[in-house]
Amino acid sequence: MRKRKLIDLARPSRQHWLGYILLAPAVILVAAIIAYPLLISIDISFQDVKLPRMGAARKPFTLENYQDLFSSPEFWHTCWVTLKLVVVVTTACLAVGLATALLVNNRFRGRRIARLAVALPWAVPEVIATVIFAWIFDSSFGLMGWLFIKLGLANQMVAWFSDTTAAFWVVATTMVWKGYPFVSIMCLAGLQSIPEDFYNAAKVDGASALQRLRWITIPSLMPVLGVTMVLVVLWVFRDFSIIKVLTDGGPLKATQTLSIMTYNEAFGFFKFGYASAVGVITLLLCVIASMAMLGRGSKAMY
């Protein structure tokens, strides 16, 4: 008789073992670099910690950080800025992304180049893109100021970064430019999976191009758009480098989002307990937002 192997993974009752074994390194890594810091920051958010040190004695449990947070006008203002940014950037990204995807989905000469061009901002590192936009919107020799003067929209160079409204829109524009290619690529993949006969049937039924978009393209893309929207929303929520480089949250905290606030409280004012509380709230908001959107999205389809 053949000797039985010590650990025979081919045995029917152990089929799932291999999966766990292969998964283990990734799970351990994720636990080490995501779950552990996450737990630490939740823990810190309930303590009055200024500057945490490894091995320092635990401070007593307190809700002070959260009480301060909810009674602080700055926090509510930051929430409002974040919400505005999420809504504006997500909407614009979806609109521009879908439009460009529809455009390069047509058959025309040079389509491959056009597709590449649409995807290009995706390939530019975030910080570099931001620096470029900082130059474009420079208040003394930026391209955009010059353009505004030439178009007669302004009499002199616009001080983009000292006006609260203008700064917000500059940040939003930069984020849209950086974010729409992702939507575009996702939509393009979605568009290519719509059967040609859907359109043929609609054409025979006398649907115009606009009706085909409204009744076939958009509904067929809904599952893709739903997931894409969640990812874009989360990206806007957590994105740090664009705002940090462009405005650093200013002027007058007009572009300070929750992630910028977390950073400033921690590394600017060394209030780690308070910053952790902001971080935890951000996390909760993200979880709630994505659950709401995913739940609705998957129910609406089919």
Partner: protein
Amino acid sequence: MASISIQNVYKNYGALNVLREFSLEIEDGEFVVLVGPSGCGKSTMLKILAGLEPASGGRILIGGRDVTDLAPGDRDIAMVFQNYALYPHLTVRDNIGFGLKMRGIPAAEIRRRVDEAARILAVEHLLDRRPKQLSGGQRQRVALGRAIVREPQAFLMDEPLSNLDAKLRVHMRAEISALHKRIGVTTIYVTHDQIEAMTMADRVVIMKDGLIQQIADPDTLFQKPKNLFVASFIGSPGMNFLSTAPADGAAIKLFGKKVPVNVSADRLKQAHSNGGIVAGIRPEYISTEGGGTEFIVRPSLIESLGSEKYVYFDAGEHTFSGLNDEEARKGLIARLAHSSPLAEGEELKLSFDPARVHLFEGRSGEALN
């Protein structure tokens, strides 16, 4: 309802001639089937007719109106697609009413007409479901419903039954025929299945490589095929082909016998020098009853289908390899109603009526009789 006239339509994809000089007159209310092997240009013809593909040349008239360069939606036709093209995000009701809605017909009117179409096709109980929740046959009906609700001038159907299992296909075949009898709309139906073509059509158009081979009603197609391709395509099992030579007078040599045929001696000689003469005998016209031309064979295989038997035997010196090798290798088939036991390898006397023999010229494949 309308007549359809296709005049010298051709279509090229680059250097590829997909359709060559296609002309066809379809009468009001007729059921015409385009049939041919896959890739012969049937779908292309239908798409040109629907306006989904431009023709490279030629004219199309529907109900006397030139529609050659008209948008699909302005041609007043309805089309049923092979994979149904039902929209997964709409209910059955909205799917059926889609065309009406796109044309801006009032909601109440749409409701009435969708209900009527659903009643005709017996899908009333499915109206609130989505296509995903339907079986293949039900989806097929909904796709038909979407066509009939529009009350168009003509129906175009592109292999509408090929996604169904064999039993359902037979059932839906009969149902589409019944529907056509009932509403009488001019229908052009595309299939690669000769049985569908034979059972449903008023007239069949047989195509090969973008060329029409023959246009005729099913009986004529079966009795008087115009060429070798039509003869081999129609009928199941297919016609037996034997390469043969002329005998003295108006006759040919088959199985060492002289078989009289209704083709002149001169014509036979001419064909013989033109790639040879091919005789075709349908398996159903070979019998064990004697009379006519009799011959002895040793069956290599006998398949019993219960009510009848397929007897395979070797063509010997008459082996014809003009169509394809596979065809030649399987030998000849006789379809016998004989119920007494037959044995493989044992001698069997078969016979056929010389009047049932089809003759073709070897090179061109044209029928001689």
